[in-house]
């Protein structure tokens, strides 16, 4: 049973009518995607661009979310791949376990986390989500389901982590959870008046468990790169007082707001954005340096506003996330920030983060040792021109773009950014026969 429905990524552009069906492992063999158009699996649709959509056939996997086993001694969790981080938190935080790596939204499936090799605020310490996957079962092009791990089907294991769902459908996942002693995070906020200071802070706090910076992408001159660096540690019970110490895993239930409608397109302009950024800096730099915040507030601030993507109006937006090697990060970031503030385009929340070592064994995994910058642009011809300009700066400095966020980069930009990985990935796709069968708008656009 299949049906047509309009789909888009979280950025709401591009939007296409897609033929969809439930991802049902028992019936995968009966599917016959049209020759040359293939199919792709989709979870909660939280990647930004066209990575999880295929007009010919998109398989919806989020309802396959059953927990299959949990070892309370080791923290090993086995579940159907549609299980989300939100569910993991709900079930396992009260028992003292936390996802080893979490991105900035909890509405993501484990299959999605693997497909983009997602990173979190602790990448510099523990790597990306793929580093905490012990094994997964992959439905392959030949109709077989294979167990992939660091011991068996190693090439498939590595190519699938970060492989955008293009090596097969990820059906079952075994991941290692992290032991915690409370649901609270000790947050430390440090101000950086320019980019150099922000980098200095990151380098000086390499042993912080979590670190991320909000960066004012519109500040000019001496204030270029002005940032607030947020460091975080899982709080131990002795850091808690009163009721929190008695029930360290109870965190206040959050009242979610919902963005009720699309913001009008004129609401976002360089004045409102500049004003917002200035205000955000002032409000947050006035807060005490060390604060105790619950994990929901610390990790998922935007999840509290359901459908916040409507803030950018009905035309949608594009998120831009790039990473640079350590040696060229500073120069590249200054050039990018210069181009952004010159154009007067930017976003409410631009994020800067120090990455630890990448995973060269995974051909399409995004993180590399150095810095990553992420920000949104409301879609407009000017924004698209700016992003093309940013692509050039990124390529010139040995950087690359994150495919989970992308909806517009060129094949050349991809091949420059993943120079070693793309040929390996393509030949694995050819060798396993997955190239004609597993396709998305992204794979077609980038010829993956």
């Amino acid at each position: 049973m299949s049906t047509l429905q309009p789909l888009s990524g979280w950025a709401r552009w591009p939007r296409r009518t897609c033929n969809t069906a439930p991802l049902d492992p028992g019936r995968l063999a009966d599917l016959s995607p049209q020759a040359g158009q293939g199919m792709i699996a989709r979870g909660h649709g939280r990647s930004y661009g066209d990575i999880a959509m295929n007009p010919d056939l998109t398989l919806m996997g989020a309802l396959r979310n059953r927990i299959l086993s949990f070892d309370a001694a080791s923290g090993e969790l086995v579940a159907e791949a549609g299980l989300s981080i939100a569910e993991i938190l709900q079930v396992f935080v009260p028992r003292g376990w936390f996802p080893a790596v979490t991105p900035g939204t909890k509405f993501v499936t484990m299959a999605g986390l693997i497909a983009v090799d997602a990173h979190g605020k602790n990448h510099h310490k523990v790597g990306s989500f793929g580093d905490h996957v012990l094994w997964f079962d992959l439905y392959c092009a030949d109709g077989q389901t294979r167990r992939c791990s660091r011991e068996q089907n190693i090439d498939l294991f590595n190519a699938t982590i970060g492989g955008n769902g293009l090596t097969g459908h990820i059906l079952t996942v075994c991941t290692q959870l992290l032991q915690i002693h409370s649901g609270w995070i000790t947050q430390k906020t440090l101000q950086a008046s320019d980019l150099d200071q922000a980098i200095e802070i990151f380098e000086a706090h390499h042993d912080a468990t979590y670190s991320v910076a909000w960066i004012d992408c519109l500040a000019k001159g001496a204030a270029r790169g002005r940032s607030l660096v947020f460091l975080g540690e899982h709080a131990t019970p002795d850091a808690l007082e009163g009721a929190k110490a008695e029930r360290p895993f109870d965190i206040p239930a959050r009242r979610n707001l919902r963005m009720p409608m699309d913001a009008p397109s004129w609401a976002l302009n360089s004045y409102t954005l500049r004003a917002f950024n200035r205000l955000y800096y002032r409000v947050n730099s006035g807060k005490p340096e060390t604060q105790l915040v619950d994990y929901d507030t610390y990790f998922y601030p935007l999840d509290a506003i359901l459908e916040w993507n409507r803030m950018y109006g009905k035309g949608g937006f594009a998120q831009y996330q790039c990473a640079f090697p350590l040696s060229s990060s500073r120069e590249a970031l200054l050039k990018l920030l210069g181009a952004i503030s010159d154009a007067g385009l930017g976003s409410f929340l631009a994020v800067l983060k120090r990455f630890g070592p990448g995973s060269p064994e995974r051909p399409l995994s995004f993180p590399m040792e150095g810095y990553t910058l992420a920000l949104d642009f409301q879609l407009s011809p000017e924004a698209l021109t700016l992003m093309t300009e940013m692509d050039e700066i990124t390529c010139q400095h040995g950087g690359r773009l994150y495919m989970a966020k992308d909806s517009r980069m060129s094949q050349a930009t991809l091949e420059a950014g993943y120079a070693d990985g793309v040929p390996i990935f393509r030949s694995l796709r050819d060798a396993t026969g997955s190239r004609p069968l597993f396709q998305s708008l992204l794979s077609q656009r980038l010829n993956l």
Binding site: L4, L63, S69, V91
Partner: protein, 245 residues
């Protein structure tokens, strides 16, 4: 009695609605007995519910169409159910089924005859200790529509049967509730073109069903559907027949 002393039997446990209701009951601490055909495939639901909610969950082979097996099935359960959720139903394919004796009989047997016979027998056993029978009907039974009247008429009969059962046991401790879901977003309907605002997700829907059960409601249906169906059922037949609904 605490929820731990009130085990729940879920019939047709593979369906999305049943899965949602099972979760809502497990959250409250009820031990669960999941029943369906090919019970082996319920293993993942057993592990999921027992790990998520720290409760006892078992799976049981059950074919409602095996009418002679009903008594033996009830006798063989590890505990006498205090709650029965009946989520048995076969949607069928209207175009294929209409006029086909075999297919129509299967729809009527699965949606009406067999569940009614089973619940009649279960009710007899539950009347004394008391408990709740919650049967999932359908708004399709409220008015015959060209799109699904084979299924809809069987569901109409089922609803009438439940209404009678409810009256029969009105003076006992047995509570009989009929649920009339509209379109709930589940695996079963995922491929279907569902109307947006009238579609509810299985989880919040199940939560409302169980809380209606706890309050002792007779019929539970979503407010929006109740409003819509109030209009639909009151349209004069000569007008209704001309509509495309």
């Amino acid at each position: 009695m605490t929820p731990a002393d009130r085990p729940a039997l879920i019939l047709g446990a593979r369906s999305g609605i049943a899965r949602g209701i099972a979760a809502a009951l497990a959250k409250r601490g009820h031990p669960l007995m999941l029943a369906a055909r090919r019970a082996g495939e319920l293993d993942s639901d057993v592990s999921d519910l027992s790990i998520r909610y720290n409760c006892a969950v078992t799976a049981h082979e059950f074919d409602v169409l095996d009418l002679d097996g009903h008594a033996g099935f009830l006798d063989g359960l590890p505990a006498t159910p205090s709650i029965i959720i009946c989520a048995i139903g076969v949607l069928g394919d209207q175009n294929r089924d209409a006029g086909d004796a075999q297919a129509t009989k299967l729809i009527v047997d699965s949606n009406y005859l067999a569940p009614c016979l089973f619940l009649e027998q279960a009710a007899t056993r539950m009347a004394e200790p008391g408990g709740s029978i919650v049967a999932i009907g359908s708004v399709a039974g409220d008015r015959g529509r060209a799109k699904n009247y084979v299924y809809g008429s069987a569901k109409a009969g089922f609803a009438t049967y439940m209404s009678g059962l409810r009256q029969k046991y009105a003076d006992s401790d047995l509570h009989v509730m009929t649920v009339k879901p509209g379109f709930v977003r589940t695996a079963m309907t995922e491929g279907m073109d569902l109307p947006g605002p009238l579609t509810s997700d299985a989880e919040p829907f199940a939560e409302r069903v169980v809380s209606a059960m706890e309050k002792g409601r007779q019929v539970y249906s979503d407010l929006r559907w109740r409003a819509l169906m109030a209009v639909i059922t009151h349209l004069p037949e000569r007008i209704f027949m001309k509509t495309k609904f």
